[in-house]
């Protein structure tokens, strides 16, 4: 129970602590502890600062990297895309002019912005964290309030270290029971989104709780919080605990010595108080879950891997029916069909959802001793150069290479297909990323979202496979 007044949720505690000004009839002025910047959504914000002759208020609370448009080919190969080059040099200039630290092209710490924040120990419980990227929700896994913002808001934060925000509502996602073998945190989040739909969390902040969540590692928790936005929620959070503290301890930006003890003591007060209420709630029984797969063109169009593709004729609402019809047409799938056994062309292991060391370790452990099927092109893209280097130190890269997979440099890669890594029109991919929108992974490409285990099982057999049949 909190000292002053009624029991509070994790979200409320962080929100209250960061409100600088609350005037009636206006959104609150919210203080931002950490601002992450990347090359694609920031250039116009810096232009705005220059036009208004403004400076960056707190470069020491800002950090930049390059991830979205960066090639994943060997660093010796020069970048040929002049627009990407321009964005890169623009970010370099902006960081230089405004004093913002940058993990640039050749930094050993470069990587997907949501991978490097936690890796460097910058992401910590109780903080407010923003970035011009919707998957900023990832950082909520540490018990931070983290959400994506647009370019106008990037300019606001650069100039004032604050944002104008209307207080969102709270949504408890209780995941009870224990996950069966072969079922992972990716399956939990895909299952949630398939239940509530991609607009189900609009206006809310999720707090994930329950036995299944508590049992997850930090990297597994990040996978879940990462896709909160796919359920419509700008942020998703998990209360910090010993697993969180253990992950942060010793990282470059983690507090040290006495400051560490004080930080942990403060972090322990963050979890939602007993008796605190949420505006909405859903309960998921983890023990009943199976591996999940999407069949359509948004992340809400997902199902248990053993289920048949749904039939639009069973849907009463006209526009919903048309949306599903359009999706199945794009995917070239039939109602009632099983996806098990469906041949695919590409397997993509990467993205800020599933490209961390534990994802790569798990994938490699299943792939070891197998070959990637002849019909499959498998691409493995580590989330950061650090992840890549650690994986190589453990020999994980060899397992992928020997199996016939393509081992790449870090970046967003085929998750967003801006850098040349992309599907050809009509190709099918099983992807560990987070979005299966039309053309997301390349114009005309078709994406099945799934866990790393399902992706590897599919890579081995050449067709969509229930990984549980491969585990003894």
């Amino acid at each position: 129970m909190s000292q002053n007044g009624h029991p509070k949720t994790l979200f409320e505690k962080i929100w209250n602590k960061h409100v600088v000004v609350a005037e009636e009839d206006s959104p609150s002025v919210l203080y931002i502890d950490l601002h992450l910047v990347h090359e694609v959504t920031s250039p116009q914000a810096f232009t705005g600062l220059r036009e208004k002759s403004l400076t960056v208020r707190r470069p020491d609370k800002t950090i930049a990297t390059m991830d979205h448009g960066i090639p994943t080919t060997p660093p010796e190969i020069p970048i040929s895309d002049i627009m990407v080059l321009k964005q890169i040099s623009q970010l370099e200039k902006n960081c230089n002019d405004f004093g913002i630290p940058l993990h640039g092209l050749h930094s050993p710490n470069r990587g997907i912005v949501h991978v490097i924040g936690p890796e460097l120990g910058l992401t910590q419980p109780g903080m407010t964290i923003v970035c011009g990227d919707s998957h900023t929700s990832t950082h909520g896994a540490f018990g931070a309030l983290a959400f994506g913002i647009g370019t106008s808001e990037i300019e606001h934060v650069l100039a004032t270290q604050c944002l104008l925000q209307v207080k969102p509502k709270t949504y408890a996602v209780k995941v009870e029971g224990q996950l069966p073998k072969g079922v992972s945190s990716k399956d939990i989040i895909l299952n949630l989104i398939s239940r509530i739909g991609i607009g189900g969390g609009t206006g809310y902040v999720f707090e994930y709780m329950g036995e299944a969540i508590r049992g997850l590692s930090m990297e597994e928790r990040m996978t879940i919080c990462n896709m909160s936005i796919e359920g419509g929620a700008r942020a998703g959070m998990i209360a910090p605990d010993d697993i969180t503290f253990e992950y942060i301890a010793g990282r470059p930006h983690a507090p040290q010595g006495e400051a560490w003890d004080a930080a942990v003591a403060a972090w322990r007060t963050l979890p939602t108080d007993a008796g605190a209420t949420f505006d909405k709630e859903i309960v998921i029984d983890a023990s009943k879950l199976e591996p999940m797969i999407t069949y359509g063109t948004n992340p809400g169009m997902g199902m248990l891997i053993t289920q048949p593709v749904p039939d639009p004729m069973q849907i009463g609402d006209v526009s919903e029916r048309q949306t599903l019809e359009k999706a199945l047409k794009y995917m070239d799938l039939q109602p009632g069909q099983s996806l098990l056994g469906k041949k695919v062309d590409v397997v993509f292991l990467g993205s800020c959802t599933n490209s961390r060391l534990s994802d790569l370790r798990l994938a490699a452990s299943l792939l070891k001793g197998h070959k990637v099927a002849d019909n499959i092109q498998m691409m493995v893209v580590p989330g950061s150069q650090q992840v890549k280097q650690q994986a190589e130190a453990e020999g994980i890269d060899k397992i992928f290479k020997e199996a016939g997979a393509d081992w790449r440099e870090a970046g967003c890669s085929m998750c967003i297909a801006m850098n040349g890594d992309q599907l050809a029109p009509g190709q099918y991919a099983v992807s560990t990323s987070n979005r299966n929108f039309e053309g997301r992974q390349g114009k005309g490409g078709r994406t099945f979202l799934a866990s790393p285990l399902t992706a590897v099982a599919t890579a081995i057999t050449g067709q969509i496979t229930d990984v549980r049949t491969m585990l003894n």
């Binding site: 602590k17 600088v20 000004v21 009839d25 206006s26 959104p27 002025v29 203080y31 502890d33 694609v40 959504t41 116009q44 208004k52 470069p59 020491d60 609370k61 950090i63 448009g69 321009k86 964005q87 630290p101 910058l122 910590q124 903080m127 990227d133 919707s134 994506g148 913002i149 647009g150 370019t151 106008s152 808001e153 300019e155 606001h156 004032t160 270290q161 604050c162 104008l164 209307v166 991609i198 607009g199 609009t202 936005i229 419509g232 700008r234 470059p252 948004n298 809400g300 526009s319 048309q322 949306t323 967003i416 297909a417 801006m418 979005r435 929108f437 039309e438 053309g439 997301r440 114009k443």
Partner: protein, 203 residues
């Protein structure tokens, strides 16, 4: 920030639900460093053939599309990424307002900051607008931001929600940054009592 007070204009519809920002402006068009020219790439993959020629029957390639200033869209419009390129492209094409039964949060926030008016209506009104566009494409509707109303040709006025702060900013065409800057001293005193959480500049 574009000023918006009142608008009488024609509409077009893109009725698909859950239109994501990758459809509004595909990611390969995000390699820009300014905001200009994005209107030509609005809904690119739905709008152009593989050889780059416009699809004649796609609404944004028709005269009706070019005349319209109001886009009537399906439920949960603008979901997906935070790219502000989406509202930039919509405004670049010539739209000043988007009407739907609901919007994704980030898209709506971005639009409010730019002065692209997101108008939320009930299902029935939405349905009526869709039928109007189909049956009488020349119809104009009237949007009055001060009164938060959308007026149908039969005279019926439908109220729509918007927070007062965003409303006043858009009515006056003032950037929200100015409001934040007015609070600099409050930010300074906040910083003086809240120790920094991290220092990115430290090695």
């Amino acid at each position: 920030m574009e000023q918006f007070t009142k608008l009488t204009a024609k509409m077009v519809s893109i009725p698909t639900e859950n239109v994501d920002t990758d459809q509004i402006i595909p990611a390969r068009f995000l390699k820009v460093t300014d905001k200009n020219g994005l209107g030509d790439n609005l809904f690119f993959d739905w709008r152009y053939n593989a050889d780059g020629s416009p699809k004649e029957d796609f609404i944004l390639n028709t005269e009706q599309g070019h005349q319209a200033k109001i886009l009537v869209a399906g439920d949960n419009f603008g979901c997906g990424s935070s790219r502000e390129h989406a509202p930039w492209a919509i405004m670049g094409y010539g739209f000043q307002a988007v009407v739907s039964t609901s919007f994704a949060d980030i898209f709506r926030n971005n639009s409010l900051k730019l002065g692209l008016l997101p108008v939320i209506v009930d299902k029935e009104t939405h349905h009526q607008l869709m039928s109007l566009i189909e049956e009488e494409p020349e119809t104009e509707i009237f949007i009055d931001l001060a009164n938060q109303t959308l007026q149908l040709p039969d005279g019926r006025k439908v109220k729509f929600p918007i927070d007062n702060f965003s409303k006043n900013c858009i009515l006056n065409g003032v950037d929200q940054l100015g409001y934040l800057q007015q609070h600099t001293s409050a930010v300074e005193s906040y910083e003086s009592v809240h120790p920094d959480r991290v220092n990115t500049v430290a090695a």
